[in-house]
Symmetry: C2
Subunit: 342 residues, 2 copies
């Protein structure tokens, strides 16, 4: 299989390198093509998502992304910002469903900022809509004195991501919580109606509950064990998935998969962490686990994915990286994972 | 002074009654006018915010609100929903700055869902913009198959709420965190520029940091002590203030003040809790503390406000309500507060 690796900025190159090492170990015949994206691509060619990178990503079997962005590029005009490269990549792959699993491993509850009794047993899959909503339609008006962005969804866009969520729930504990702000927003009314309709038409065996986004933000902290699958629109998903990601104790643990009509896109959910970039101390667990999700969701190798999951857990239990109170650097942690691959 | 009390729905009548009892005790000459809002007003007159209620609120010195909404009214057409009454009330009072203090009282850290060392010393004031953003402009299109809501701000709307935040920070620890999504949204770019400009022009003595909303959602849980004042737009403020409100351990503790061009509006931030309504067990602390905020911000009686704050703290330490693991019912808790008023 052909995997395009886009290391990106900040700690992106360090953590993707670790992930590629592990990927090659379990899948020796993988063909890796490495290309720049984000700030690195701006520096190299003036665009955060060059045409040749888009072409390579589209003809690949899957894409592994590091992280994009950093203070160096913050002052640039919008179209040249690293984040715009990421949004364009997601769009060009048709990756409308962003899967973000949040799991507290048994024995690692002490890493959570929550009291251990609240963190225990948490196992949530957040399905975030990734190509619609407020991200793609905005501007400035009235001589720059006003600005707007429009959150917009069609029924079809909601249906396709709802189906992914219900399908995922069938593989798990059979329950979906749909999050919206239907007491105020028309776009959320459509969201709620449509999700309800998809369940009635195709997934009557799956439980469905609706929550308002403000209430969900509280419940994710006070009662995270109530959730199996959460499905929500792009902006709410951005906020709630980062929020939920703190429960296990470090963003450095959280992988993601973005699936849709083209090759899958796999990336850690943490940022580019410019403060520690280049020091070799970043936690590569999320990137390695993202490679695991790639094996499972895009390359059809669930057995190899499980081996990676287990090896990362073993490495975390022996000596985690500094963000988790351990002392391993990136290379040492990766070596532990390789050793633990059985 | 003339105070309009709008008990509203669910536990609203019980908790506002407790607050009025305490208010009368410290300010015997207060004139209370009680009127319906929300579902109660829909039932009485077909509108969630009747014209005579609006007129009374506008000529009052301050408004004390309970809570609105409940399953009974969820199926109604939008214009008749209780929540629309609340939004119309805020607009009609010109209440653009919603102040939500979040404080973990020393000795009450054990009530928090966070580990005690993270909860200790938390003292945040969230200033939420309340009259703009995505709440007021939306609709359905394309034969109901599409829907949208537009988040819109003018520079003037951002400036006036930013000034409230900087002013509040001057009375506190001198630091403002402004939360936006400026890496993606044009409306957030305007927000960030404008807040930065207000500081440079008028508040150079106050520190200012910008955070993205997804990152802030994490940091509020992992490092809440980093915040003094947080200022943000309406929807982000809705989500983040509910999130922050879980830190002290119960929504039942959280008051709010909404200030602007007309009489101030004071309300607990918890919902109408239909499941326990009418049982006399609701926690009235947030409503009582909201009456305290009214004394401070609208009636110019900071001494009386302090007496209420202290009395509520004493009552909480002796025997809190059930949501906090105590056994006091609403009446017993209120009696404790009255006894503790010194
Ligand atoms: C960098 C940014 C554009 C992005 C988003 O908001 O989608 C990030 O926060 C994420 O969640 O992947
Ligand atoms: C009930 C609802 C309209 C309201 C809001 O979103 O403003 C509530 O959640 C709040 O925070 O006061």
């Amino acid at each position: 299989p052909h995997v395009v690796v886009l290391p990106g900025d900040g700690i992106g190159p360090e953590v993707t390198q670790a992930a590629v090492t592990v990927l090659r170990e379990v899948l020796p015949d993988v063909r890796i093509e490495e290309l720049p994206i984000g700030g690195a691509a701006v520096d190299a060619s003036g665009s955060p998502f060059p045409a040749e990178v888009e072409a390579a990503a589209k003809r690949s079997d899957a894409v592994l992304l590091g992280t994009v962005g950093g203070p160096k590029w913050e002052g640039l005009p919008r179209a040249m910002r690293p984040e715009m490269g990421l949004l364009a990549l997601r769009k060009s792959l048709g990756a409308f469903a962003n899967l973000r699993p949040v799991r507290v491993l048994s024995g690692l509850e002490h890493l959570s900022p929550l009291r251990p009794e609240r963190a225990r047993g948490v196992d949530i899959l957040i399905v975030r809509e990734l190509l619609g909503g407020i991200y793609f339609d905005g501007g400035r008006e009235k001589r720059e004195e006003e600005a707007f962005n429009t959150m917009r969804y069609s029924k079809a866009e909601i249906e396709r991501v709802a189906k992914v969520a219900f399908w995922a729930a069938q593989q798990r504990r059979g329950h979906v919580t749909s999050v919206d702000k239907a007491n105020v927003l028309e776009v959320s009314e459509l969201w709620r109606e449509t999700v309800t309709g998809v369940r009635s038409a195709h997934y009557r065996d799956v439980g469905l509950r609706h929550e308002y986004v403000d209430s969900a933000a509280m419940l994710i902290v006070t009662d995270p064990a109530r959730y199996d699958v959460i499905v929500t629109e792009n902006l709410f998903g951005d906020i709630l998935s980062d929020l939920a990601a703190v429960i296990p104790g470090s963003l450095g643990l959280m992988p993601s998969a973005s699936l849709g009509d083209g090759p899958g896109l796999f990336e850690p959910i943490h940022g580019s962490a410019p403060d520690i970039a280049g020091q070799g101390v970043a936690n590569p667990a999320a990137a390695i686990l993202s490679a695991g999700m790639m094996l499972r969701h895009s390359l059809g190798r669930p057995g190899l994915a499980n081996r990676i999951d287990n090896a990362v857990n073993t490495a975390l239990r022996s000596n985690p990286t500094r963000d988790l109170g351990g002392s391993a650097n990136t290379e040492e942690f990766t070596a532990r994972v390789l050793e633990a691959l059985v």
